[in-house]
Amino acid sequence: MPFMSSATVVFGFFARLSLRNRRTRLLLAAAFIPFVILLVFHLVAISGGGSRSGAVLFRQMAVPFLFQLYIPLMGLLGGSACVGDEIDQRTLVFLTTRPAGKASILLGKSAAQIVISLAIVILALAGSFALGLGSYVFSGEGMARLGKYLLAGALATMAYTSLFVLFGALLKKPVIAGIVFIFGWEYIVQFIPGSTQHLTISHYIKSLLPYKSSAGGFLMFQLEPSAAVHAVLVLLLLSGFFLALATRVFSSKEYVLSEPRI
């Protein structure tokens, strides 16, 4: 069966499956936490409560939450599940004993995961942005700004999910390794000035965000940004590279679905 058509079939099935999945619903709910907070903030503001503008709330709360915490963790859960769920639930055999290549299976699954995650991230970002900045959204400048956030969010989702698809294909316990990567490596390296930062994913994402103030706290720490085009290219290349490597690993590695029965 041709590569693309089997990947498409796999994509369709798992996209629908993940829409019905409890995990997806939990992730969706989590993504909208900033949105809900903004909503509450506005309601309070209407009744004469709060004083700060929604823009600050968006930048100080929604952006760090989504970029620093949510996107990496969603990438970790969703990415590692691409192979992990098939092993845990021992369903891998159903896919590998059909005439679809393993590469197309993994790419179809990853694509489904990425598309769903992208939809969630874009909805959550755009929703929070609109709620935080109000009518500013409709100005040309506001649109451009939102575009930058969305671009950064989309690329971040792709890069993290692809990386953790690779983790899932490669490792037995991808989540621990992933947590160490996100809160260890990515976090520590940002305190080191110079070019070491270029070894993290978050560096390129930060370079794409439309404001460069370091006042916002730990997300902007020690940033020596790369050029936007450069960052976009690197993130795209990284995603492609991680996925390609993941399919290589997935195609050649054998997965034992349960304990050997001896």
């Binding site: 304990e259 050997p260 029965r261 001896i262």
Partner: protein, 310 residues
């Protein structure tokens, strides 16, 4: 100790629903001491009924007594005195068999040292003495089955509930498991309820059998009643071409069973010994010959009816 005359389980009008689907339909039953078989197709409600007895599921209606204790109020008491062997594989990962068995004994109320000693004994008894220090997750499914029996036995209960005890075992293992169950029932004077969809297992171990279908008990009988003879049906095994042989017989009903044996319904005017003559003339050998018995399988099929097979 329960005397032989007491009833072990009394259920009255038990009903149970899974998401609106009625899995148990007003079951009333009284089970005395001894070994009872619970037979029925997949989805008949055997496991559900067992879980209700254990208090894992609360019936929507009805109630009863288990080992003389009211089901709802005496939950802890009932669970202390029952040994349950579930159908599904369940284990605690990373534990070896002795640890797991002793742990279960301890949870049942045995002192720790006693539980460890008893764990070794029961594991030896079920034939796992050589692999008792191995992690239970590396066991084959036959070994897991033995381990589950050991877990159900460790606290020497008064009533054992065994759900599909031979599922997933090879023939040798299955025979040994049935032998163990018979031995426990005889030597330990254990009361048991054994569910199975394998007829031979029930026939070999139980005195009484309850047949379940679609959430109701459709028949209750002694296993020995199944062996009443019906002389006009014979089971015949031949070596050679059966067509030539069958052509020589008078117009009779013949069917082939799962083992490849012919089941011949002979008319009254045909002496069974003529089969040997006809076989000789047809050039085939009769290698197996026996009056057919009404087996548990027949009883099962009659009780359940053809509606199930569709």
């Amino acid at each position: 100790m329960i005397s032989m005359t007491d009833s072990i389980i009394q259920l009255k009008e038990i009903s149970f629903f899974y998401n609106g689907f009625q899995a148990i339909r007003g079951v009333s039953l009284e089970i005395g001491a001894g070994v009872y078989g619970l037979l029925g197709p997949n989805g008949a409600g055997k496991t559900t009924l067992m879980k209700i007895i254990l208090g894992h599921l609360a019936p929507a209606a009805g109630g009863g007594r288990v080992l003389g204790t009211p089901m709802d109020a005496g939950l802890i008491e009932v669970r202390r005195r029952i040994g349950y062997m579930p159908e599904s594989h369940c284990l605690i990962p990373g534990m070896d068999a002795v640890t797991l068995t002793a742990y279960m004994g301890e949870l049942s109320g045995m002192p720790r040292q006693e539980a460890i000693k008893r764990a070794h004994e029961v594991l030896y008894y079920v034939g796992l003495e050589e692999s008792r220090y191995r992690k239970a997750d590396t066991y084959s499914s036959g070994m897991k089955q033995r381990l589950k029996l050991a877990l159900a036995l460790v606290h020497d209960p008064e009533l054992m509930i065994l759900d599909e005890p031979t599922s997933g075992m090879d023939p040798g293992g299955r025979e040994e498991m049935l032998e163990l169950i018979r031995d426990i029932a005889a030597k330990g004077r254990m009361n048991m309820i054994i569910s199975s969809h394998i007829l031979a297992d029930i026939e070999k171990t139980c005195q009484q059998v309850l047949i379940m279908n679609s959430g109701s008990i459709v028949s209750e009988q002694h296993t020995r009643d199944f062996n009443s003879q019906d002389t006009s049906i014979f089971e015949v095994g031949i070596k050679g071409d059966p067509r030539e042989f069958l052509r020589r017989l008078p117009k009779i009903q013949a069917e082939t069973d799962r083992r490849g044996l012919l089941r011949l319904h002979l008319p009254a005017d045909y002496p069974p010994m003529n089969l040997f003559r006809d076989a000789l003339e047809a050039g085939v050998q009769i290698r197996h010959f026996r009056p057919s018995r009404l087996t548990l399988e027949d009883a099962f099929v009659t009780a359940i009816g053809e509606s199930h097979a569709r």
